[in-house]
Symmetry: C2
Subunit: 304 residues, 2 copies
Amino acid sequence: MTLKPGTTRVGFIGTGVMGLSMAAHILRAGYPLRVYNRTPARAEPLLREGAEWRSSPGALAADADVVITMVGFPSDVEQVYFGEAGILASAKPGTYLIDMTTSTPSLAQRIHRTAKERHLHALDAPVSGGDVGAREGRLSIMVGGDEADFEAVLSVLQRMGTHIVRQGEAGAGQYTKMCNQIAIASNMIGVCEAIAYAKRAGLDPERVLQSITGGAAGSWSLSQLGPRIIKGDFAPGFYVKHFLKDIRIALSSAEELNLDLPGVRLAQRLYEAIASWGEEDSGTQALFKWYQRQWMAEVGVSSD
Amino acid sequence: MTLKPGTTRVGFIGTGVMGLSMAAHILRAGYPLRVYNRTPARAEPLLREGAEWRSSPGALAADADVVITMVGFPSDVEQVYFGEAGILASAKPGTYLIDMTTSTPSLAQRIHRTAKERHLHALDAPVSGGDVGAREGRLSIMVGGDEADFEAVLSVLQRMGTHIVRQGEAGAGQYTKMCNQIAIASNMIGVCEAIAYAKRAGLDPERVLQSITGGAAGSWSLSQLGPRIIKGDFAPGFYVKHFLKDIRIALSSAEELNLDLPGVRLAQRLYEAIASWGEEDSGTQALFKWYQRQWMAEVGVSSD
């Protein structure tokens, strides 16, 4: 089977901010596209461009050669794959199933096992690059699963990403995505602490960034999110509530691996604090408010 | 007074790895150079190139228009400035004093105050860029002190660095350097945790770096130190013992500012642990051993 535009039917489940852009690239490349989304209205831009609506994950899977899922939480992944009228119960033998949601490695491995029993080809393929990367088709895609299955779907993945690496067997994509989130978690703490300290010391934080971004303290977060923090711009970017989901997955996965990650545990504590203050829908740079609150409390100003 | 090569006498105190390279740039630019170092043998390469030896910080300061200090710890800075036969007691009015050691902001402010009383011009000007930056004259120099004094010595600083920013009044250079170290402290935790998790999950860590260094998890430490960690190369770079010094300065300074930095506190705890295991003279990437020890303990192998 060769997966070519024109003949290969692609089904896409989950047309949120990321999924909508990703599915559009596939549609525009000429693949007949079927879509399903829990909130149907969100899929409308794709229907207007020629995609066909299907009424359930199962109905979609029964009528596709490749099924791509990009949903919210591991519980959503479990529902669309294992639930009633779900993918695994309905897909025809030989179908490729690609979960691009950031989810747990163990769930990815369970999907792969069950899929294999039913002669289905499952891959886990979470992404990084955010809404901008999705819009521009420049995502980094981290893939776990069988080598042959990876080769088979590569041309489809290439519609969405420019940096696509098979990291290993089933679950390896999710493990790699967790590496990404683990590195970010502690670095966000460092970025916020550096800027908080600069402010408390009476420095001009923008001028501080001029001195430090080019050297050993330099990072994507410092260059991209540092200036937003300084301006008081806490709009997402990447939502606090989604990052907290990833942090929880990382910690539970690390526990399964018998590995203590105190940096991620600290990030969890701080992010849960700001989430409890109503920052779930802010961008991850809102971690700065955990520090800001220290001096706001001092002068009797509420940071809520 | 214009500080020109040929006529401006520069005194340099502290010819360790960094100081030796920095002083050599000044000497080669044509400034008559006097040097002092606690261990005289280390200054010999400069003496062979034409620098003159002075027997104490005070003797050196009495005979220089610009005195540069690049010593080890804040206690060393205090000694060379305030000690018997020290700089402040011996320098002639009008002399410029530039401390490039990474030291405490409060000590920088105290030197500046005392210097002013004696009609001396003190600046704090710590650097980043490491031994390579020092050798290539490409340091980032973060300066605190009076604007006019900064302007006066800029041509001398330009022999050592390419990125020179006056950050504010006395102490601002040290505060900025602490911002740099604070950002690095948590990021090193993130880098080590990401690689430790990758290894525990059975991934190929080099391939993981291929997927994650170009995106939101990217940082200087991940790109530069990540590959060394993977190879088991823990050579310095930047010594654990010096980084611990900086972490302690940052925490004590943050405490003065009434600011809690839990990321730096965690870094202190982890770095103190590896230092107690004999890693003081390793590079900062040896933090990885804190994680590695978890699985070495599991299989009964000592990591010492």
